[in-house]
Homo-oligomer: 164 residues x 2
Amino acid sequence: MAAARTIAETEGWSAVTVRRLAAAIGYSQPVLYQHFPRGRPEIIAAVARSGFAQLEELVAGADDPDALAQTARAYLAFAREHAGLYTAMFEMPSLNRFASAQTPPELRRGFDALVAVLGRGPGADTRAELFWSMLHGVAVLERDGRLPAAQREERIAEIARLFS
Amino acid sequence: MAAARTIAETEGWSAVTVRRLAAAIGYSQPVLYQHFPRGRPEIIAAVARSGFAQLEELVAGADDPDALAQTARAYLAFAREHAGLYTAMFEMPSLNRFASAQTPPELRRGFDALVAVLGRGPGADTRAELFWSMLHGVAVLERDGRLPAAQREERIAEIARLFS
DNA sequence: CAGACGAATCTAGCGTTGCTAGGCTGAGGG
DNA sequence: CCCTCAGCCTAGCAACGCTAGATTCGTCTG
């Protein structure tokens, strides 16, 4: 998993081949299929789950008065600094199931932390979902060069203003 | 391109192989490489460009008093009903360049239409970018089952409220 | 201590992928 | 009548995900 994460971060997920992983850890391919019977997709899903746990800590760590902006900043920094990991978590066809009994607890907790930042009241869940969607949209569009990198702080401020 | 779009829409982009496209149009593989020298990525990029044009018309068609909600609804419906196309446009490693001289004019026009919906004033560009990011985030998270489909209309209303 | 067992690992190979080198074919011009 | 050239095809390469079957080696039993 560490090898997969490293290769994905530096060369993208298409460079993460089973052969290459096997070589990286000094074993042959079939050994990987014993630890991950579903093969490559399962390896990717495992890496993604480890990312959810990491992201959750980050989001939950915002206790500032200006929690909204700080959460947004932390989320976007995470997506930018762990682009490969973020891709596996949110953009690749994943074995991880969401909104079901098999949903990894790491993800559920991450969303709960987001809800807490936005406060209670009617429609709080919808607002939290939209806050998350907003961050996700900005994260991927920024990464793909579809939003100008220069106005990054300005965007964060405007996001906080919209949701406050 | 039509064959690629059809296969992608029904079976996903992974089913769009050069061999299969060749068979679908009744030619051999090398013929495809003469029309699209960069191979499969160029075919996908071409399909994506055709999607930008289509999306632009859709977004520009909102002239209601409640333009925000209507634009959001139209955008999300497009993403939902042409999921394969939308993926090629915004989520696949693309040959299309953005924010540069080679940016396809279709995309630029689509964004301008979005700016128009949000009105002028200071920070209008940032607000338009965020509106687009919001829609994109909701589109992909809804599609992946990460947002409950039931509250779709509620989300649209809240988005319009946030940006009004 | 000999032999059987089972886990761990390997080699080798299947079918499919994107892509390309090189040859064939047939219409048009000198 | 032959040459050229555009258009197309067959055949093949390297790399992919994945798997069947053989091999090795420590441990446990008689």
